[in-house]
């Protein structure tokens, strides 16, 4: 059972639909203790980092316990930023802190618009289970204003004004800044790779 955490940060219909196409029907846990039975956890999210305050406390603890049991975790967009220590967007709200670093606003100017909305290409510096079968330079759909720094956990990077982490991978912890559920065939492939990691 893969759990999709609904903490009120946006609409989850597309994420569900994407996973359905990737061969998994997600369930939404009613309480943090439900995560004890999860084979995988998806933290979605759009909008302001402040929304992740709803995960503080019991949810965060339950997710930590699951990660310690080596249950695969996937953060999407805001959910990926939450894997880091925190974000300049809401400095008082701590992230999960499973990946070191802070998210910052994308640089503006020089004709570049922020938010970064649309299809942009992935650079793949290394092998990745999550991005298996996704070629270097594949384009995926982004929509965000803040981004995570490039670190050794970066499984893919992207550039918009400056380089940022487009995907992260550290053992059973995965994250994507883009929206795989909106990124056509490559996106569904990525979701399928995550589903595979939960089996």
């Amino acid at each position: 059972m893969i759990a999709l955490i609904d903490y009120g940060a946006g609409n989850l219909t597309s994420v569900r639909k994407g996973f359905h196409a990737a061969g998994a029907d997600l369930m939404t846990p009613a309480a943090p203790s439900d995560l004890d039975r999860a084979s995988g956890i998806v933290v979605p999210g759009v909008g302001h980092f402040g929304a992740t305050a709803a995960l503080a406390g019991d949810w965060m603890n339950a997710i930590r316990r699951a990660v310690e049991r080596r249950v695969p975790l996937l953060g999407i967009c805001l959910g990926m930023q939450w894997l880091f220590d925190g974000s300049d967007e809401a400095p008082d709200i701590p992230g999960l802190g499973m990946i070191a670093g802070r998210c910052a606003r994308l640089p503006q100017g020089g004709g570049l618009k922020v938010p970064h909305v649309g299809w942009n290409s992935l650079r793949r510096p290394r092998d990745s289970r999550l991005l298996d079968g996704v070629a270097d330079e594949t384009q995926v759909y982004f929509t965000h204003s803040y981004a995570a720094p490039v670190t050794r956990e970066s499984a893919a990077t992207c550039e918009h004004g400056s380089a940022f982490a487009a995907a992260v991978e550290c053992e059973q912890i995965f994250g994507v800044q883009f929206h795989p559920e909106k990124s056509s065939d490559a996106g569904i492939r990525i979701l399928r790779n995550f589903v595979g990691a939960t089996r």
Partner: protein, 251 residues
């Protein structure tokens, strides 16, 4: 590098695409879901579905259409036309829309943009602006271009951004349906004034029109309906043309 987006627009009435379907080669013309699927296979970057029905029965049929279109479509889907309130937006989003386009209702009550943005995120809120040239300015019109307002398109776009809109869908009333080319002056004026992406609409007739609007017009995306019906390979051919002109597009 961020690609310029090509967006196909489907005008839907009672479950059928009603615009730009006068070409015999287009077998699936009447069915929005098959058309969206074909465009997706051809490499379109996004789809916009516009409701041009007025009745309650029509609206229910429209939600079924959104559901059918979104089922097989794993690229962004925007729904517009007749989104007047939060419940209208919720119905469209629950049916599978990723973004909602708001026009007249936002002009009547700009705080609707803020409420939708706080509930769904700015990335889900598209302000649709219909503008017409008047004495050297661009006047905003409401109700499908039928009602004049006191607003200037550039100023309204700036206010809509500050109120929470995440994108601008900008239609030139002067060019709509003419195939004479996008209004690059209008598009550039709005695109330079806001930091959110601007989707140019109205007037697409040739591939060269897209090149113009992405360069002179500073558009981030371009929307068209009938131009994609020209041939089975219109999307791919257009992307090849744009690439040859040095414009970044998704392969």
């Amino acid at each position: 590098m961020l690609s310029k987006r090509l967006i196909a627009c489907l005008d839907v009435r009672n479950g059928c695409v009603v615009k730009g379907v006068n070409f015999e080669s287009l077998r699936e013309a009447g069915d929005p879901a098959s058309l969206a699927k074909r465009y997706n296979q051809e490499g379109i970057d996004e789809v916009v579905v516009l409701d041009v029905t007025a009745t309650i029965e029509g609206r229910r049929a429209f939600e079924d259409t959104i559901r059918a279109v979104s089922r097989e479509l794993f690229i962004p889907l925007t729904v517009g036309g007749g989104i007047r309130s939060e419940p209208d937006a919720a119905a469209a989003i629950d049916a599978g829309a990723d973004k909602v386009g708001v026009n007249s209702a936002a002009l009547a009550d700009p705080s609707l943009l803020t409420r939708l943005a706080s509930r769904y995120g700015s990335q889900a809120v598209v302000v649709a602006i219909d503008a017409k040239r008047e004495q050297g300015r661009f006047r905003v019109f409401a109700r499908s271009g039928s009602t004049s307002t006191d607003r200037d398109a550039v100023e309204w776009a700036v206010e809509a951004e500050s109120r929470g809109a995440g994108e601008v869908l900008l239609t030139s009333i002067d060019r709509d349906g003419t195939r004479a080319g996008f209004d690059c002056e209008l598009t550039s004026a709005v695109s330079s004034a806001v930091s959110i992406p601007v989707i140019a609409s109205g007037g697409a007739g040739t591939f060269e029109h897209f090149t113009e609007v992405f360069t002179l017009g500073r558009a981030d995306a371009a929307l068209a309906a009938s131009v994609f019906h020209f041939s089975e390979h219109a999307v791919a051919d257009l992307k090849r043309h744009l690439r040859d002109c040095g414009i970044a597009v998704r392969c």
